[in-house]
Amino acid sequence: MTGFEQLQTRLAELSPKLYPLFSEEFGDAVIGVERSQLIETAEELRALGFDRLGMVTAIDRQEWFTLVYRVASRSLSAAVFLKTRVPREDAHLDSLCGVWPAANWQEREVFDLFGIVFDGHPDLRRILLPEDWVGYPLRKDYEDDRIIRRPDYI
Amino acid sequence: MNGFVWGLIVGLAAGLLIAIAALIGVWWERKVAAKIQMRLGPQEAGPAGLLQTLADTIKLVLKEDITPNQADEPIFRFAPFLVFVPCAAALAVVPFATGWAPFNIASSALFFLAVPALSVIGILLAGWSSRNTYASIGGVRGAAQMISYELPRTLSVLSLCLLAGSISTVGIRDAWRWWWIPLTAVGFLVYFIASIAELNRGPFDLPEAESELVAGYFADYSGIRWAIFMMVEYGGMVAASLFGAALFFGGGLGLPGALGAVVFVILACTLATVMIWVKWTFPRMRPDQLMGLAWKVLTPMALVQLLVVGAVIAWL
């Protein structure tokens, strides 16, 4: 039995609510949710013993942003990716700082580099770039005359 | 008038001695530190890098003398001298030879203990007038530290005064007997530790704590004024070592002429080297631990020493 199937069967026992959301993407266990249900799902996961929020990041998919949270559990010795989407024009969602404090700085980083607003975040300021920076560099359409494009060697 | 001229001569000599002590002391400290740290130390300027400090001094004298805009200018510029003068004055009562000190005053032991402590005013003013947070913290720390360590230092010397029946440095040195060494060993330890703390040297270099306060009370000083602060550190080291060697170890008392002087200098240099060794070995203490050491450990130790000495005198 692979780690994924193990996790699937255990989740089926432990949380019938999360089970239908559960899927496999590229070999990883993924729980995909609507952004309105994010906090609910996160709390459910937390109650299941997923106590470590390892990573928060976003992917710019042109029309929308995919938010990726990686949570791990020591007791289940498992990790799942919690994924949600926010539309580009309306890029905001609930902050998970209340569920996992570790989200604090990581959400600030996503805000800084992608411009996604986390509602309810205690201290949502730019973290890596200067406070007066214009634009969100990791967006695919970010333009900056400071950038010198690398010539194509390949 | 005679006394005034003599005072002028002694003052100049003390200044010169401190300058020479700093020139050699910095070089020696860098060499000893290098030895401890498996390095070589200064090598390129002069033989074995002996002229290194000379080069540093010329450079520092010719550096730009910055007074920060927001600093309290007159005090800022004057504070280094306020630190320097008490340090130089202390050298006036060191018993350099049997029965002789540049100024043989009746209460010279008290003078030696009290006057260098006045440099705390200079440190406080230097820290405050810089209008720099780091410097202010350094200055306040320096004041607290120097005042606290005054007490154990004085108490430890007091037991010598008791033994000699004199509060003059010359009197103590002339009355010195070899069996004082084991009897006042604890007192010497207290004196030595308290002296290091008075000089703001490691492990008690809190006022200038490099890793926290960058440079502490002299953070905003540059060029010659900063060099004066450095000179004071080495001058104070020399004074404390000479004094310790003369009073606690007799400073070669009873040995014929030149040999006695050589032994005296060797003893003092050894003490100074131990100070350097201590600095480059130990971590720095925290302010509260530093105060705890002064009030909870060193002061009781010095008091016990005093009691023991008193009992011995009564028994004799």
Partner: protein, 381 residues
């Protein structure tokens, strides 16, 4: 961009009077910030009321740069992430690429990766302990630990020609096989490591002043450590047994016998000492690796020069000297990644600083920051 300090409503003391706070700006160039970190410290007397870390002074945008480079060209970029432990970022990145492209790595390459990473762990921990010592004022100790680190650096130099940025672990294997006699040099190094570490242990951790300075400072409870996403020695110092080398048992670690070092109280002393004790375990792992390693290929055969993994997403993480270092790669099928994200342990550990420092004095703040061992190349990326 200015260096102004934000204003803040004053705190109140027990009687309700406003406390006059001293606001101290530490950094971005300060001897104890280990690089370019900056902290805005609010002091009440000598006691820290509030710390606001300000980071990003070394934010170079490596994640953005990676989007315009081929998979192989990114490896040198990862070197510059954690410059005290370049091998880890190399390896974490390569594992993610290998997962994305489905590359199997030859066994000898895995052994070599484990050897260099454990050597790197010794080097990195020595740097960390040394800088912690320098923070407390024991500067000579820094030089002694750095001397041990120099030994590792020399070994790396013989292996891949560089002292700091190795570019050694590549997708599919490692760049070069070991030169002749290298394993003997490594064994000689690990053989002499034990007594040297014992000496450092006695000199630093046995010192009364050090104990007074480090013990009970910056106590991190196990619950907080887990909730705040701490990893590496920061979480193990608090007594949480969390080490990816054992829990995920990646690469050839399942074949190794070693102990996970955990602390008890979670203070700065435990965190620093966990690092020292881990060096002994690393030496053990290296010796086992060299004993088990057989001759063979060091690079996967038939790898195209221009990798173009299929569309997908892959995350992989390894236990670096600072904690779990993960790389998240998104491929759109082209020869360049669509998105690369580095999950940096130092970033997550540093987030604990405001939590740990409050209530301690200014000298303790420096010690706490040192015990979290931030490397700003990795914090800021």
């Amino acid at each position: 961009m200015t260096l102004q300090i934000e204003s803040r409503t004053p705190a109140l003391d027990d009687a309700g009077h406003p406390v006059e706070e001293l606001v101290l700006n530490v950094g971005p160039s300060h001897p104890s910030t280990h690089g370019v970190g900056r902290m805005i410290v609010h002091l009440d007397g000598d006691v820290v009321v509030k710390v606001t870390p300000v980071i990003g002074y070394l934010h170079r945008g490596i994640e953005k740069m990676a989007e315009n480079r081929t998979y192989l060209q990114i490896v040198p970029l990862t070197d510059r992430l954690d410059y005290v432990g370049s091998m880890y970022a190399n390896w974490a990145y390569c594992r993610a690429v290998e997962r994305l492209a489905g590359i199997r790595v030859p066994e000898r390459a895995e052994y070599l990766r484990v050897i260099v990473c454990e050597l790197q762990r010794i080097a990195s921990h020595m740097m960390s302990i040394g800088s912690s010592a320098a923070d407390t004022g024991a500067f000579s100790m820094f030089i002694y630990t750095f001397d041990v680190r120099e030994g590792v650096v020399e070994l790396f130099e013989n292996l891949c020609g560089s002292r700091l940025t190795y570019n050694y672990v590549r997708p599919g294997g490692v760049s070069k096989d070991v030169p002749e006699g290298w394993t003997d040099d490594v064994l000689a190094f690990t053989g002499s490591l034990g007594p040297r570490l014992d000496e450092l242990d006695r000199l630093f951790f046995g010192n009364t002043i050090t104990r007074g300075r480090l013990k009970g400072v910056g106590v991190l409870s196990p619950e907080d450590a887990v909730a705040w996403g701490a990893s590496g020695p920061a979480v193990r110092g608090s007594g949480v047994n969390w080490d990816l080398r054992q829990h995920r048992a990646y690469s050839v670690y399942p074949r190794m016998e070693f102990d996970v070092v955990v602390g008890e109280r979670g203070d700065a002393y435990d965190r620093a000492r966990v690092r020292l004790l881990e060096c002994y375990e690393s030496a053990k792992i290296i010796e086992q690796c060299i004993a088990q390693m057989r001759a063979g290929a060091i690079m996967t055969e038939g790898l195209p020069r221009l990798l173009a993994p299929p569309v997908g997403e892959a995350y992989d993480h390894i236990e670096s000297a600072r904690g779990s270092l993960g790389v998240y790669l998104v491929s759109d099928g082209s020869e360049r990644p669509y998105r690369m994200k580095v999950r940096s342990p130092a970033f997550c550990n540093l987030a604990l600083l405001p939590l740990l420092a409050v209530g301690h004095t200014l000298p303790d703040l420096v010690v706490i920051l040192g015990s979290l061992d931030p490397v700003f190349g990795e914090v800021d990326r």
